[in-house]
Symmetry: C2
Subunit: 201 residues, 2 copies
Amino acid sequence: MLIDRPDFVQALDANHAWRLMNTGATVIVSAVHAGQRNAMAAAWNMALDYAPGAAKCAVVIDKQCFTRGLIEKSNRFAIGVCVREGAAACMALGSTSANNSPGRDKLIPLGIDYFDGEPHADGALPLTLGCAGWLECERYPEPHIEQTYDLFIGRIIRAWADARCVANGKFLPLDQIPPELRTIHHLGAGNFVVPGEQFSP
Amino acid sequence: MLIDRPDFVQALDANHAWRLMNTGATVIVSAVHAGQRNAMAAAWNMALDYAPGAAKCAVVIDKQCFTRGLIEKSNRFAIGVCVREGAAACMALGSTSANNSPGRDKLIPLGIDYFDGEPHADGALPLTLGCAGWLECERYPEPHIEQTYDLFIGRIIRAWADARCVANGKFLPLDQIPPELRTIHHLGAGNFVVPGEQFSP
């Protein structure tokens, strides 16, 4: 359900937000159009550009995903970088489709808590709890690669981070991040790994 | 230098190899053309398709990278999924360009050990040690996204895996993988995290 934005969620410089995608965590992709909200899980995602003012990311979104239709209509989506306390929500979002939910709403039936992104005429993007950060993106329409590869590209226009695990646009040193706030990385079939050690070669 | 393929390197079904990219590890991209070999590090990569016979991946390769020219000429590249024992090689490959090396060779000066991929008229792809698996890919030429986003797409046509950490096309359970054979995930500025725990929500 919609909640107030928690105090630990703080604005993050959109130019630095790509860093949160650098370690390859599983993400939640969310979108809104005409009052319809949805969110889905996506293991296939990456940063694409770090140029200030043009920072971008890419994510694979299957044609069967209800969220994809919302993105195609609204030209916006959000990427939430999942952490362990959001793993159950991530699994639930990744294994249920709004196509099969009454009113095409799965956030309420699944008990997913989210807060609003930046106000927008089309509705605020739903940002689900259980993420280290959230990147609000403007879709770069690329019909050929969207159709051929299900690949969507977004310019990061606004970002938020959980101040308990991110500061100054970077993850805190891993030993300062509580286990439940560490990123999750999908192996497949509902199995994940989480970082246990940080090092510099 | 070129070494014989180690015994722990075994053929992997190319249809399953995308799984090794699912957790978002940093990779080594390598290529060969007309006897010229090179390899580079890339944090921005992802699987793109798991359809049998059409499994694909995507990777971001900057225009300044010497490896990119080899890929554009040969239409082939390899992705090596880095593990901790290859972290120093990954850093070295990521911070040195063949453009500045005598004879445009950096593998020999950097002391990078590699073995040959499948024989090919254009030369075998150099597969560097220190990876959990290697995906030999055929480039899907997509000039627009290559130029605009530096994004390269490959169809996975052959694959290899380190049998000490991968079996039946999947990573072994994490507690069976020695620390030096766990994947590395780049935070930025030469700092990496490695998986420490596996779980299912």
